[in-house]
Amino acid sequence: MFDNIALLGMAPLLNVQLLLDGLLIGAIFALAAYGLALVWGVMNVKNLAQGDFVIMGGYIAVVLANNGIHPILGLPLAAVVMFIFGWIMYRTIIRRVVERDMFTSLLATFGIAIVLAQSLNLAFGPDVQVAKSGFETMSMFGGNVTISQAKLIAFVLAAILATGLVLFMKNSRMGQAIRATAQDARAAKVMGIDTDRVYAFTFALNAAICGAAGVLIAMVWVIQPFFGITHSIRSFVIVTAAGFGNLPGVIIAGLGLGGLEQFSGFILGAEFQQATVVGTLIAVLLWRQIQQRRHRQVVE
């Protein structure tokens, strides 16, 4: 472990490589986390199936890629499919947990997560898969730092999608209705907003965002039916660290988590990857708690 740290000190370009890889993948994490923040903030539903939606989007891309459709063309298709899927999920299950306590939504979505992960496992088997994009790898600094074009393109696409979402939320009629509902659902209802429809749209939009993120993940990384839970925890880490409704925070936390994972993967070894994500979660929760301690007093 210390050898690896020393190595980073000796070869500064290695830091650049790790940071670059981390930031490029972190943008996709941020995208999925933004979806979670949306659902959390608007509907007060903590979606533990978030990561499985991502993986589902990834598998759609894999299937399309195997049939000769390039992942970038598959992205809108996956988003549409996931949008419909999210809408159905809302109509059948999520609708019934929106008004209930927080743990209900957590556990119900956890059940959905298990069903999705296991169904994907039955359909595609437990092997890791990629959506072949056929992009080249570029070199910088005389070949010491490499960037795969796929990652760069995924980063750009994630940025475009995020920008599009922000504009949509700001300017469109539905975006305004979503923000109004998030602020005060009852008042929004009084003003004539069909909150049930807003919730359905929000959840479906989140699924579509996840689907898009999943396509990008499948393009630049690997997917496997049971990787969903790690992606869910990543989204939770990012949203908890940033706070919902704080888009710049989500982006920074997403990029930061991506970078952190790359460095810990290099320093500690790949087997610590999940432990890093979970460890970050615990650290973030602890930090929040210390923050809150200033506002609360407990009987001692």
Partner: protein, 348 residues
């Protein structure tokens, strides 16, 4: 609390079924032992989730940690642990019956106390968290523990570690069965007593409104920590026993099965009716039967079925069986079922 004749009959009946089961169905002894383990899981989870309103997704942590502590004690009492794990596969630790029982006894005691101490330590960390943060935080602790122990070579890392086999000709199935049954009964008796004390009122107050409870002078943090330590105590013992029953300890599937046993706990308590004495027990037994049947007849689809069961249970039937019965026949309830506490309390 005085026992009515009906109640006594019910207790005696359950006890009789428990003792007779391995002799009537000898082929299913391990499965029924597992059922008692599930009963312990559900009851100890309900102490937080049902009665205190703190929905932990990481109680399995104490199960796994108890299993590892017990294993380490059992082995290092007789041989050097590092040597033993380094030669795993070829090394087999044969003990006499006295040695084995001493090792197991000491191991279980240390496991129980160790798990309790860790509950105090982690309680200090996680009990400042509320609602979903608490659930996610505890889930994180359990997942992290499994991942970290998997990289610790002294205890065999991800490859796991074998336990000394049960001495003699018998394979110990019956022995572990009665240990599990005994543990389930001990947990039940302890919680039944605990639920007659003011402790129950305090943790119910925390569930209903923690701020108000604090305002009334209840030392909420202390109650929460004690409640978690109690669960940890019984879970630590159950982990030690389960490790021996399986004969092999491994971090992800056996010791910290967060998304299987860790979630089963929650599901069983919800299915039976959380916040009641008998709810988790009924839920655990019913769930275990359903699980064994689906594992046998729906092989491949069992996990999908299980996930669907969670969704249906949580979304459509959250009050659980006992909760539903309380709603349906509130006046009959105290007479029909041995649970006056639950009838008075009403469903949450």
């Amino acid at each position: 609390m005085s026992m009515s004749f009906n109640k006594l009959l019910l207790h005696a009946g359950v006890l009789l079924v428990g003792v007779a089961a391995p002799f009537v169905f000898p082929a299913y002894t391990s499965q029924i032992a597992m059922m008692w383990l599930m009963v312990v899981f559900a009851m100890t989870w309900d102490l937080q989730g049902g009665q205190m309103g703190y929905n932990s997704l990481g109680n399995i942590f104490f199960f796994g940690i108890g299993m590892y502590i017990c294993t380490i004690v059992q082995i290092s009492m007789f041989v050097d642990l590092g040597d033993y794990t380094a030669h795993s596969g070829s090394a087999r630790l044969d003990l006499t019956l006295t040695q084995f029982l001493t090792g197991l006894g000491v191991g279980l005691i240390v496991a129980a106390i160790g798990a309790m101490l860790l509950a105090v330590v982690f309680g200090w960390i996680v009990f400042g968290l509320r609602g979903p943060y608490f659930a996610i935080g505890t889930l994180g602790v359990a997942i992290a523990a499994g991942e970290l122990i998997g990289t610790w070579d002294l205890v065999g890392g991800g490859g796991g570690i074998s336990l000394p086999p049960f001495p003699g000709e018998a394979d110990g199935t019956l022995f572990y069965y009665f240990m599990m049954l005994g543990l389930a009964i001990a947990t039940f008796l302890f919680l039944r007593w605990l639920y007659t004390t003011s402790f129950l009122l305090a943790i119910n107050a925390i569930r209903d409104d923690e701020e108000k409870a604090e305002g009334m002078g209840i030392q909420t943090k202390r109650y929460k920590t004690v409640s978690w330590s109690i669960s940890a105590f019984f879970l630590g013992i159950s982990g030690g026993l389960f490790g021996n029953m399986i004969g092999f300890v491994e971090p992800l599937e056996v010791a910290f099965p967060t998304i299987t046993f860790g979630i089963f706990m929650v599901l069983m308590a919800l299915l039976g009716g959380k916040g009641t004495l008998w709810g988790p027990i009924i839920g655990a037994i019913l769930f275990h039967v359903i699980k064994e049947v689906t594992w046998t007849y729906l092989l491949g689809w069992q996990w999908v079925t299980l996930g669907a069961l969670i969704v249906i249970n949580v979304v459509f039937f959250q009050q659980g069986i006992v909760g539903w019965m309380q709603d349906k026949w509130p006046e009959k309830f105290g007479i029909e079922v041995d649970d006056p506490d639950a009838a008075e309390k009403e469903t949450a």
